[in-house]
Each structure stands twice: as C-alpha cells, then as structure tokens.
C-alpha cells in the first residue's frame, strides 16, 4: 500500500547519491576536453609558435585563413570525401547489415570475417593498403592495367588517389556501419515479413516497403556518424597518400596538423580547428533536425 502510494507520488525512500558523485568525471572531462575547446577559440586570436607564450594578434589569423586558397582547397577536398564516402558506404553497409542479420550459419561465419577490419588500428589498415597500392610490387601493379592505370600507379593520379582513399576508408568503416544495421534489422518484427509473404510480396518489395522504412532511425544515426566522422579523416590520408599527389587529398585536419605542428603557427591552426568543430556540430544538428530524428518516433507505431 505504502509502496504503491510512493510510486504514485513519484517519491521513494531509497538512498540517493548527491551531486558529489559526478564531480570527478565532470572535472576530468571539463579540464581535458571542455577547457581545450574554449582555449582553441582563445588561441585563434593569438600568435604562438608552440614554445614561447601566446600573444594576442586580434583577427589576423582569421583574415589569413579566409584569404588562404590552400585552406579553401582543403575544405573542398574534405567535402568531396564526405559526399563520396557517404555514397559508397551507406548502400554497402545497409545491404550487408540486412544480409548479416539473417540467422543462417553461413551468414554468421562470413560476417565474423567481415568484422575483422574493425579490430585493426587505422595505422595498421592504412599501412597494409599502402603496401597493397605499391605500383611496383603491390596488388596495384597487377590489377592497375585492368582499371585504367597501365603503370599500376593508382595513387599517383589525382582521381586514383581520391578513389583509393575512399576505398580504404570503406574497407575500414563499412564493417562498423554493417554492425549498426545488423543490430537494427534484427529488431524488425518478423510478423511484418510474414504478412508480406502471405500477400505475395517479392523479396525486393519487402526490402523497399518493410526493411528500409524500419531502418530509418539507424540510417540517420549511421549517416551522422559517417558525415561527422569524415571531417576527422587524418591518419589514413597521412599514411596512404600524405595529402598527395600535390594537394589532391589534403583534407582540413592534415592542413591543421601541418600549420600547427610542422610550421608551428598554432594560432592559425586553431582557426582551422574551430572551423572543423563548427562544421561537425552544425552538420549533426542539421541532420537530426531535418530527419525528424529528434522526435524519435518509434518505428513500431501502429503494430
């Protein structure tokens, strides 16, 4: 009786922890992640070579960044990678995820192999692919002639280098998104398919009219992670092409790394860092807003 009343009134007599319990984590996160973000903004108005003391120079860095063609070029390259990687990875991981959601034994065995790239570090993946793309002794020398690179030097041409990076990134990250889609596809109620089967719907129709709409939330989650994640590609490009040929694959993070930790213009690099952070945040807010994801409609409504 009392328990029921307590439940109705929304109170209970259990001991409750105070605010102190969250303080260690909050302090830690604040000091090593929150404060640095604010400091990036401050540093963007300073001149600092990484060793001495930063001193303010007003909007000078910002003016330089805006008029720096190299930065704009890197922004363009980053956006191209963002679009290409999304276009390549989304259909692949969606289909693979739905396929891997099946309970057949062969699917279980194959998908456990498909997840292997996930376990490797980006550095290991990139180095393996760099060896594979070697124009003299790598696989590129063998298959290059069949795909329009007679000398096997795929990463030596602008288009080839961009395509190579997209392929390497797909190899590394499609498994992760497959995992997301696999989990979501297994949540789709079987009775939807049973009903469709009775109605005589073909496999393709079932995919378009049941699977795809049911995976809506996952498509949004996966796309946000993919698009925002694409702004941070750095190690792969550093190792496979090092931004080349020329600056054909030089993305914003590498441009920031070069200005900051090679040319020691930390203030200038901070501006690029802020642009990255702003782009990422804006992008995820936009997608969440326009996809109606924030409202979180259940896909099970009406069942």
């Amino acid at each position: 009786m009392t328990a029921a009343r307590a439940a109705v009134e929304g109170t209970d007599r259990a001991a409750r922890p105070g605010a102190l319990w969250i303080v260690p984590a909050a302090l830690f996160f604040g000091v090593f992640a929150g404060v640095p973000l604010l400091l990036t903004a401050v540093l963007s108005f300073t001149e600092w070579n990484g060793l001495g003391t930063p001193h303010f120079n007003g909007l000078a860095n910002w003016h330089r960044v805006v008029s720096d063609d190299a930065v704009w070029e890197s922004l363009r390259v980053s956006l191209v990678f963002m679009v290409l990687c999304w276009l390549v990875q989304t259909p692949l991981s969606l289909l693979l995820g739905v396929w891997a959601a099946g309970r057949e034994l062969n699917r279980a065995v194959l998908s456990s192999i498909f997840f292997l790239p996930l376990l490797m570090s980006t550095a290991a993946v990139a180095i393996t692919w760099r060896v594979l793309l070697d124009p003299n002794f790598g696989l590129a020398a063998t298959i290059g002639p069949y795909i329009g690179f007679p000398d096997g030097n795929i990463v030596g041409s602008q288009r080839g280098a961009v395509a190579a990076i997209v392929v390497v990134i797909a190899w590394q990250f499609v498994p992760f998104h497959t995992l997301l889609y696999q989990g979501a596809a297994r949540q789709i109620p079987q009775m939807l398919y049973d009903a469709a089967l009775i109605d005589g719907a073909s496999r393709v129709r079932q995919f378009w009219h049941i699977t795809l709409p049911q995976l809506r939330n996952t498509i949004v989650t996966s796309s946000v992670l993919m698009l925002v994640g694409s702004l941070t590609y750095f190690e792969t490009i550093l190792i496979v092409t090092n931004g080349g040929p020329g600056t054909a694959t030089m993305v914003l993070p590498q441009r920031m790394y070069l200005s900051g930790f090679q040319s020691f213009q930390m203030g200038y690099a901070s501006v690029i860092a802020l642009v990255l952070a702003a782009l990422g945040t804006a992008l995820s807010l936009l997608i969440v807003r326009f996809s109606g994801f924030g409202k979180m409609h259940s896909t099970l409504e009406g069942i």
Binding site: A25, L119, A123, L139, V228, A273, L276
Partner: protein, 295 residues
C-alpha cells in the same frame, strides 16, 4: 528487463525459432550470397596479403607477385621487428590501455549512477554537458591539449596520452552506463535501503552487479580506443622510449618502408592481440564496438 535483455537467453532462442520458420518459408537468397562472396574477396585479400607478406622473406615478396601462394616461410621478420624495439612499444601501449580502461570505469560509473539516481540539478546539468561533448572532435582540441600537457610537464609520458584519451571517451561511456542503470527497478533500491544500505552500498552491491554487461561494453570500447589511438600519441610523445604501437608502425613505415615483410610483421603484431581476443570473446567485443551506435 535490462538484465534479461543483456543475458539474452530469450531473444536468441526466439531468433533461432524464427530462423527455422523463415527457412521453411523462404528460398535461400542466391544473389545475396554471391554478392557476399565478392565482399569476402574485398575484405579477405588485404588480410591475406598482410599475413602472407609477414611470413616470407623479402626476395619471395619481391619476386613472387602479390597474389602468389606463400613459399619459403619464415618467422625471421617478427624477430627483426622485435629487435627494432617493437616489444617496448607493445608494452607501452598495454600500459596506456589498462590505465585508460581503469580510469574510464572509475570515473564513468559513479557519474552514471548519480545521473540516474540523484535529484540534484547540478547532476542533470552536467549530464547535458556530457551529451554535448559527444560531438566534440578530438582534433579540434589538440593544440590546447598540447599546450596544457607541456605546461603540466607531462609531455612525452604515458600520462600525457592517457588523460585526453580518457576524457574524450567519457561522454559515451557515461551515456551507455546510465541507460543501462535506468533499467534497474527502483524497488530493488528501496528494498536495499530498508536493509540499511547507503548510497555507496547501493552502487557497489546493486547497481554494479546489475550493469556488468554495459561495463564490459565500455571497457572493450575504451580499450580498443586506447590500443589503436594515434593522434594523441603523435602530438604528445616524441621519444622511442615512450612510443606506442601505432606510432611505432608509422615510424617503421617512414624509415623502412621498403622492408615490406618486416612492416607487415609489425602490423600483424599490432593486430594479433585483438584478433585473439576476438576469437574467444567475439560477442563482448562486438557489443563494445556496437555500443556507440546502439544507444
């Protein structure tokens, strides 16, 4: 409910049953099977080359052609890699990984417990900050992190890597843990309070055991993050004594890029520990990897 879901006896059983009925009703999907085999080739060939190149001598690599079967097998490449100091890098990475996981769990669990159980406004406000923190890319902060680490005289030490690595893993860990803790029925808290338990005992003997699955998830997630981390070590360490395995690979590639068999042996060594864990604890590892998107 959460306990049931995490233990998974029910869903797996019903899934098998479902699979059986479906198989009875549906033809096998040959087209999908063929496409899956193509993908297997795409995934498998680089892994095959990695393994093959690491176990044959350099002249076999140079003369054999990329898709040849391995011959004149040898483990010398691994010996060479160890001679170049790679064991040291693996130990360093291990230290960073263990410390990062321990620190993440130690900080995230009490925070998640407070988020679910506390009525304090400070707690709910902090939770919102953690949520916002999910969107901060680590790269946007490396310059001030570098500034702070050098000012704290921690540059070129394991601590320099551990601190920011843990900080950027915290938001997701707190989120995963708190959504698991939300499913612990509050009658249990009440019952234990009546037995005379305080906040700490409630956490230690009730919340902790009931969220074991999520603790595994975040441990796996933060361990993989720390083991495979590249950016923070690149910016915050310098000497070979402090080098972690990913940077070891990077340097190896820059200095001895032409010694492909040794390079691939190093890549194998960096991936092997995780491959072995995958072999024995696939479900946990997958749960840890999916943790980020599943919540």
């Amino acid at each position: 409910m959460a306990v049931l879901r995490q233990e998974r006896p029910v869903p797996v059983a019903s899934g098998r049953h479902r699979g059986r009925t479906r198989r009875r009703l549906r033809r096998p999907n040959w087209a999908a099977g063929a496409a899956a085999l193509v993908w297997l080739l795409f995934v498998g060939v680089p892994i095959y080359l990695m393994v093959k190149d690491s176990i044959q001598p350099i002249d076999a690599y140079l003369n054999g052609g990329p898709l040849s079967l391995p011959h004149s097998l040898t483990l010398d490449n691994f010996g060479q890699v160890f001679d170049s100091g790679y064991a040291r890098y693996l130990v360093n990475t291990g230290v960073v990984t263990v410390a990062s996981v321990a620190l993440t769990v130690l900080l995230a669990f009490p925070a998640a417990y407070a988020i679910v159980r506390s009525h304090s406004r400070i707690v709910s406000g902090t939770f919102r900050i953690f949520l916002a923190g999910l969107a901060i890319p680590a790269q946007a902060t490396i310059i001030p992190v570098y500034l702070m680490i050098t000012r704290m005289h921690l540059y070129d030490s394991p601590t320099a890597i551990i601190l920011p690595t843990v900080a950027f893993g915290l938001p997701l860990s707190v989120l995963v843990l708190s959504s698991a803790l939300r499913d612990v029925p509050r009658e249990l808290y009440e019952a234990m309070t009546i037995d005379g338990g305080g906040s700490f005992r409630l956490m230690w003997s009730l919340a902790l055991p009931l969220s074991r699955a999520s603790l595994t998830t975040i441990s796996v997630y933060s361990a993989l993050n720390a083991w495979n981390g590249f950016l923070f070590p690149l910016i915050l360490t310098q000497s070979p004594e402090q080098r972690v395995q990913t940077l070891g690979l990077f340097n190896f590639q820059n200095e001895f890029g032409s010694k492909v068999p040794e390079l691939m042996a190093a890549v194998m060594l960096s991936a092997l520990p995780i491959f072995i864990v995958y072999l024995f604890a696939r479900r946990w590892l997958i749960a840890g990897l999916a943790g980020v998107g599943g919540k």
